[in-house]
Amino acid sequence: MPIVNAIEIRGLSVSFAARGSVVHAVRDLDLDVPEGRVFGFLGPNGAGKTTTMHVLLGFLSPTAGRASLFGEDVRRAIARERIGYLPENPDTYRFLSGRELLRMTGRLFRLSGRILRDRADRLIEELALTAAADRPIATYSRGMRQRVCLAQALINDPDLLILDEPTAGLDPIARLDIRRLILRLREAGKTVFFSSHELSEVELVCDHLAIMAGGRLAAQGPARQLVPAGESLEKFFVRVVSQPRGEM
């Protein structure tokens, strides 16, 4: 049985034309994310993490190269059947209640009836939204909104979860919740691909790392082997990221 990578990126380049000049957001990126890993996608602001994820989700067509999810080309809608996605700064439909949002989202995956109801109820419970489940999302706090967005990313019981800075702007307790959730997903054999620039976070949960800088892959490998002995992740990160970046 051939091993299929959850994410496979080959020669990916994305550039934007912005006010006369061209911004190369991602350049010639190759990346494999094997199934069952928690994969940390690191890099400073503007490194190209979000852009890469947008290609994976089919929001952007790449300037060059290709990408696939579980072997399906990302340009096809079916590639998104088995994934869940939490955008950075997530927001959602405020006129719906949390429960309605989960049910509606589930229907987009052709879930229905008993299965959908049970799954929505379970997610509401797991993400501590029980008390607010039937209130409009407009009345939710920021942390609750983040959680309900996470819940809707999980409604299809995805095999691959793509999280874009899931802990940005959250208080320490909420971060802890997210961390626990990621670990639980790993135990369940899921793949988690998440971006962050907060290293303490990453160290605690990741078993695989990739570091982006200036649109290029600066380093990647298993978390334990990537950082040389005696160097902290933070020192390593700064060293890798501040190497010459080409014409950026």
Binding site: T50, H54, L57, G58, F59, L60, S61, A77, I78, A79, R80, E81, I83, G84, Y85, L86, P87, E88, N89, P90, D91, T92, Y93, F95, L96, E100, M104, T105, R107, L108, F109, R110, C149, Q152, A153, I162
Partner: protein, 261 residues
């Protein structure tokens, strides 16, 4: 199923916002004012109530169709909810059709409510509408709303919500009021302008075809069904063309990220 779900969400949003109710109350107030108008102490007058009531239904239906159609995609984009939505196995064509369907259905239901309100007042005053003509008028009106929502949706693929809204009002208003008059302008035009106007005349949607109010109010009896069917088909055709254009414009669109706004 996905199209239906997207349409359902549009529908939920429409009924949870206040616009529809505001318009309904406005129409009710207008009808009440009409009914209480003292016409030289005469009683039993009803035709003008029907006329103005239908005018209100037309105006408000028009506004709703354009507003609902124009705001769907831009609000998804400005809130950033478009990303979570398109991360589902939803194609952009499905998104487009679902949004259109939802906006059209919501506008149609509001329209039905406007008609019911007008009918109720007219009936209460002892007036009546010929049921077949009423059916024809309503069908054509629904077809008009389909065209209007598709137009607004198509414009909103490239423009911001307000601009798309204004653009759709101007374009549809021109199609309703100006386009039918074009043949009367033609003799005064030079060859080139004349040709251009001629092309415009045949290519722009003829929204005036969907207006059966006069037939209904003045009780001329039903229109020939073949013509009504042809007009319905014409409306469906225009809706399809507009949705196709909308999809072409939207297919590869890059969305601005919400954090930058």
């Amino acid at each position: 199923m996905r199209i239906r779900t997207i349409a359902h969400m549009v529908w939920l949003e429409a009924i949870r916002r206040k616009d529809v109710y505001v318009l309904l109350i406005l129409l009710g107030g207008l009808l009440l004012a009409l009914v209480s108008l003292n016409v030289f102490g005469l009683s039993g007058l009803v035709r003008y109530v029907a006329d103005v009531g239908l005018l209100g239904a037309w105006l408000f239906g028009w506004i709703l169709a354009v507003v609902l159609g124009a705001r769907q995609l831009p609000t998804e984009e400005s809130r950033g909810t478009i990303f979570a939505l398109l991360a589902k196995p939803v194609s952009r064509a499905e998104l487009m059709i679902g949004k259109w369907l939802g906006a059209w259905l919501a506008a149609s239901l509001a329209l039905a409510a406007f008609y019911v309100l007008t009918l109720a007042v007219v009936w209460a005053r002892g007036g009546h509408f010929d049921p077949v003509t009423l059916l024809q008028a309503l069908l054509l009106h629904l077809a008009l709303l389909a065209v209007l929502t598709a137009l607004a949706l198509a414009l909103s693929t490239r423009w911001h919500g307000d601009a798309a809204c204004a653009g759709a009002f101007v374009l549809s208003g021109a199609a309703f009021f100006v386009v039918p008059q074009v043949p009367m302008l033609l003799p005064d035009m030079g060859r080139a302008t004349g040709l251009l106007l001629h092309a415009l005349y045949y290519l722009m949607p003829h929204l005036e075809l969907f207006d059966l109010r006069r037939r209904l109010v003045h009780d001329w009896g039903p229109a020939p069904w073949d013509t009504v069917a042809l007009t319905l088909f014409y409306g469906a055709l225009f809706t399809a063309v507009l949705l196709m254009a909308a999809w072409l414009a939207y297919r590869n669109k890059r969305f601005p990220r919400s954090e930058w706004q």
